[in-house]
């Protein structure tokens, strides 16, 4: 009996240890770096908020117009003439012959077709040209988001190529490229963009629809230097590491060494700077639209919608029609803020030193 129990115990014991091992395997999975980043990213509340904001803006500006077009069948430049009477009351005072003071009222009515207040048909009303504001907000968002993504993509591409070459080859290649970077980084951004856009808008050979492409090119031209500097700095550091020596001794081609072994390691930094850069491009684009140098008129842009409130063109809209300009500004803030929340979240997630 005693022996048997002993045996049982032993059996039990070995069973237990097996179980512990399987428990260990279940509890300690190997997580890929990508999933670790994602886990850290979703741990931060702000990055989730940012993600929600960006998803909202995307749905609003890319799905919204489709819904409007499918249900009511109009686009951004559909003019609505909504009649309403606008009362104008002016008063004046005068002293009557009986010595009393009289007040004189003059009431006039005008028929207004545009600038309709918010209603069930037009949630945010119509603007000075009779366009539906909500629809224009959606199309404006399309423009802003498309421009910002294309510009950031081009900037990153140019920056990677030039920064990669400068960092890898060093010497005179580095000298030449970095001096060009210095010159471009020193150009005053907004004034130069103004000059360029003014140039484009006054050349008659360029159709107005194409102005937006030039605009993107200019924004890229002013912004690629930051990426080039990041890539170069990272590569200068990385190329001294042992794995690069291994790559060299195995005889991998230079191009592959740069673009397959070095550049992927600079990606975390690039993704962060690109995300943060998206907001910056949107701000530049809306500033240009505000000054009337961005997307040309019948097409909508957030900046030009806020420009309606410019007090030097009269205070009427600024004072009485907040529905025309406030939503556009709010959308700009949401988008830029969303991108910076995501960018910050990504930076913290990529940084292995960050622990919470």
């Amino acid at each position: 009996m005693a022996l048997e129990t002993e045996k049982n115990k032993n059996l039990n014991y070995s069973d237990m240890s097996e179980q512990v091992e399987t428990d260990l395997e279940q509890n300690f999975r190997v997580i890929s770096p990508g999933r670790m980043v994602a886990k850290r990213f979703f741990k931060s509340k702000l990055s989730i908020v940012g993600l929600i904001m960006i998803i909202f803006v995307f749905l609003f500006s890319f799905v919204g117009p489709l819904i409007i077009d499918a249900t009511w069948g109009y686009k951004e430049t559909q003019v609505f003439r909504i009649e309403r009477n606008s009362d104008m009351v002016s008063s004046a005072q005068f002293n009557g012959p009986d010595g009393k003071q009289y007040t004189y009222y003059d009431k006039s009515q005008t028929l207004v077709l545009f600038k309709a207040p918010p209603s069930a048909d037009h949630w945010l009303g119509t603007d000075t040209s009779g366009f539906d504001i909500l629809t224009r907000l959606m199309y404006g968002g399309r423009i802003s988001l498309t421009i910002s993504f294309i510009v950031i993509f081009l900037e990153t591409f140019i920056g990677i190529v030039l920064g990669g070459l400068a960092g890898y080859f060093g010497k005179w290649v580095d000298q030449v490229i970095m001096r060009i970077v210095d010159i471009f980084a020193c150009l005053p951004g907004l004034p130069i963009l103004l000059i360029l856009s003014a140039t484009i808008s006054s050349i008659e050979g360029i159709p107005t629809e194409h102005r937006i492409y030039y605009l993107m090119a200019f924004l890229t031209l002013m912004g690629w230097t930051g990426v080039a500097r990041i890539v170069r700095g990272q590569i200068l550091m990385l190329r001294e590491q042992e794995y690069m020596m291994a790559a060299e001794t195995t005889g991998i081609k230079v191009i592959n060494r740069i673009f397959r072994h070095l550049i992927p390691n600079t990606m975390p930094q690039l993704i962060v700077s690109a995300t943060l850069g998206l907001g910056g491009v949107i701000l530049y684009e809306s500033t240009l639209s505000y000054l009337g140098l961005g997307v040309p008129f019948p097409r909508a842009a957030w900046g030009s919608m806020i420009a309606l409130a410019d007090p030097s063109k009269g205070q009427e809209i600024l004072a009485n029609y907040p529905n025309m300009w406030v939503p556009a500004g709010v959308l700009i803030v949401i988008t830029v803020l969303g991108f910076s929340f995501i960018g910050d979240g990504l930076r913290d997630a990529f940084d292995p030193r960050m622990k919470r």
């Binding site: 509340k45 702000l46 001096r179 060009i180 210095d182 010159i183 020193c186 150009l187 005053p188 907004l190 004034p191 130069i192 103004l194 000059i195 360029l196 003014a198 140039t199 006054s202 050349i203 907001g279 701000l283 809306s286 500033t287 505000y290 000054l291 900046g303 806020i306 420009a307 409130a309 410019d310 007090p311 030097s312 205070q315 600024l318 004072a319 907040p322 300009w325 406030v326 556009a328 500004g329 700009i332 803030v333 830029v336 803020l337 910076s340 929340f341 910050d344 919470r356």
Partner: protein, 332 residues
């Protein structure tokens, strides 16, 4: 150190040369130049012939738009610029240097006051946020700071105008002086008050836009310092939290802060184009925007070169300050 400085200055001059050539080329490419803008009406009505326009262009040095012509006029411009003469502004009818020196001060005052306010608000908030990392205070301040950087200046300006100038009517809408009020020329104090009153909103806009950057910068650098070993040592030896934060941590955060903030100083002279324009404040940014829209090439060149010099100067200053503030740094 002097060798390093000389090298940096030589590099700066090279950069400025490149920048000037680029800007000149760009502004000469502007097809709607000043003469075209000014004479369009006269040509339309028949008061001027196209030959007159061409003659005028020649007088202004705008006639030859071929590459050789641009190079020639650039060299002329460079020669006179190096002797300190930036040319004559078409639009303002005065030497460019005079326009710059006349309108720069109002821009500087606005920018400088908001710079001081940004520092006074941003740094303490950044410190407090970093000390209470991930607290409610930290989140609120960070979100507000980021909101400031996400706001377009013209939108913030419009919002403030709507509330304070129109709804409440406590602040003036635009301009630098009240047009309807007449002051006797010796009522300096009243004129000063009137101007200060007009500058409240522009300064608020610039401060709100800039304070977020400084706050975030302080917070990030403070966090880096607070995580270092000597802070743990300082706490372990039983120093009060106050001493640890303000004497041990903040003093080290000062290094990046001072370098960055001093590098921002020259930029304060550059003017805030959009904010000045929205509030119709006759500062250098407002004048430059008008000049750019009208194709006033001498002024555009002068202003942009001025801005580039400020940028280069800012980089130089922050390099020098880096050496001055941090004794560990030896540049060569």
């Amino acid at each position: 150190m002097w060798k390093y400085l000389l090298k940096r200055i030589a590099l700066a001059l090279l950069i400025l040369f490149g920048v000037s050539a680029l800007i000149y080329l760009l502004s000469m490419l502007m097809p709607a130049d000043y003469i075209d803008n000014q004479t369009a009406a006269a040509v339309q009505s028949g008061a001027m012939t196209l030959e007159d326009v061409q003659h005028l262009k020649k007088l202004y040095g705008l006639a030859d738009k071929s590459f050789g012509g641009i190079v020639n006029s650039y060299l002329t411009w460079l020669k006179s610029t190096l002797s300190g003469d930036l040319g004559f502004s078409f639009l303002y009818g005065k030497p460019v240097t005079k326009v710059l020196s006349e309108y720069i001060w109002i821009s500087f005052i606005v920018a400088f006051i908001s710079y001081i306010l940004e520092i006074m608000i941003g740094i303490p908030m950044g410190i407090k946020a970093s000390v209470n990392q991930y607290s409610a205070y930290d989140y609120t301040v960070s979100v507000f700071a980021m909101m400031g950087t996400a706001l377009p200046s013209f939108f913030l300006a419009a919002l403030l105008m709507n509330v304070f100038a129109i709804k409440l009517g406590v602040l003036p809408l635009q301009g630098l002086t009240t047009a309807t009020k007449l002051f006797s020329p010796d009522a300096h104090f009243q004129i000063f008050l009137d101007k200060a009153w007009h500058l409240v909103m522009p300064i608020t806009v610039l401060t709100l836009l800039g304070v977020g950057g400084i706050m975030k910068f302080t917070r990030t650098n403070m966090l880096e310092v607070l995580n270092s070993d000597y802070i743990r040592t300082a706490r372990a030896k039983g120093l009060s939290e106050r001493t640890v934060i303000y004497k041990h941590a903040f003093r080290n955060t000062m290094i990046p802060l001072v370098t960055t903030l001093s590098g921002m100083l020259p930029g304060l002279f550059g003017g805030a184009m959009i904010t000045e324009t929205v509030f119709a404040i006759p500062g250098i940014g407002y004048m430059a925007l008008r000049a750019t829209q009208q194709g006033d090439i001498p002024f555009i060149m002068g202003y942009n070169m001025f801005l580039s010099i400020l940028t280069v100067l800012g980089m130089l200053i922050s390099d020098i300050m880096y050496m001055v503030v941090d004794p560990r740094v030896k540049l060569s």
